[in-house]
């Protein structure tokens, strides 16, 4: 319980409805601290001001896309190792290869289910309880 009380996740997506759905899913898992950003630029600012313990980010976004955000987060000292889950469209192999090269921790193909999201998070931080 102590872990879930302090574990903070930053959700980054330019689609409002997606942000709402992901936030709802995270809350269903017991995650209480959730920050949201509507593009990569806003997310980067948030990570520099009040870093989260994990970033869940869409790829296709204005200003900074998911890959550019990942690159920026990896090159900023305090967030260099922050777990990063990338949300992508179907069959984008090149994108995944680039993400892996930049140090992505996990990825999910849209549309995904709540259990799949939970599994992706747990693969990085262990069982949520």
């Amino acid at each position: 319980m102590a872990f879930l009380e302090h574990f903070k996740v930053l959700v980054v997506d330019d689609t409002t409805t997606s942000r709402i759905l992901i936030t709802d899913a995270l809350q269903e898992m017991g995650i209480r601290k959730i920050a949201i950003a509507k593009d990569g630029e806003q997310a980067l600012r948030a990570m520099m001001e009040q870093p989260a313990h994990m970033v869940i980010s869409d790829f296709n976004m204005p200003k900074l896309d998911g890959l550019q955000l990942l690159k920026a987060i990896r090159s900023y000292g305090p967030t260099r190792t922050t777990p990063f889950i990338l949300l992508t469209g179907k069959g984008d192999r090149k994108l995944l290869e680039s993400a892996v090269a930049l140090g992505v921790n996990n990825f999910l193909t849209k549309p995904f289910t709540t259990p799949a999201l939970k599994k992706a998070i747990e693969a990085i931080v262990g069982v949520l309880k």
């Binding site: 689609t15 409002t16 409805t17 997606s18 709402i20 759905l21 709802d24 899913a25 269903e28 296709n60 204005p62 469209g89 849209k110 549309p111 995904f112 289910t113 709540t114």
Partner: protein
């Protein structure tokens, strides 16, 4: 996604979306309880249509069902943005969401409600369309002009829903109406 540059008719099947950026193209689909969102940016000369049916019959409580719908809406919107459209200029017409099967929960209404909520959340204005009723529709959409036309399909099952959440603007069987 299919990008269309020539002048012709494209059928959008369930689970698909098409974006058009030039040419005299008409997008067409047949809808029962499914919903088609027709979205365009009148200044960028880009428009498109998707066609979705949320899985399951308890969409309101299912994040996963909504996730599927959001994905198809996102694909269409992102396809438009990639062709020079601006989010704040997008305008939508929604069609479908009929209650075509008696006795089951009103899946059509749930699909319609989802689409309306999505567009409201994203700040995309709804400028026309027709949702609900108890009959299927054939919809044609000219994405570059925004013109839309629907033909109500005659009720072959003879089913009339006891309570229809929204009445279609055309009462006559097999009639067609244009939505500008």
């Amino acid at each position: 996604m299919t990008l269309v540059a020539k002048s012709h008719r494209v059928t959008v099947m369930r689970g698909e979306y098409h974006v058009v950026h030039e040419g005299d193209v008409v997008l067409t689909t047949i809808l029962g309880s499914c919903v088609a969102a027709c979205i365009r940016d009148p200044y960028a000369q880009a428009g498109g249509m998707n066609h979705f049916l949320l899985p399951g019959n308890n969409v309101r409580q299912s994040l996963d069902a909504q996730s599927y719908g959001v994905h198809l809406m996102e694909l269409l919107v992102n396809g438009l943005l990639q062709r020079g459209a601006h989010r704040h200029r997008l305008e939508a017409k929604l069609f479908g969401g009929a209650r075509t099967i008696e006795g089951l929960s009103d899946i059509g209404a749930m699909n319609a409600e989802f689409a309306e909520t999505f567009l409201r959340n994203e700040g995309i204005s709804i400028v026309g369309g027709d949702l609900g009723g108890d009959r299927g529709r054939r919809v044609e959409y000219w994405p570059l002009t925004g013109r839309a036309r629907q033909v109500m399909l005659s009720g072959d099952k003879g089913f009339v829903a006891p309570v229809s959440p929204r009445q279609p603007p055309v009462a006559q069987s097999g009639g067609s109406v244009e939505f500008f």
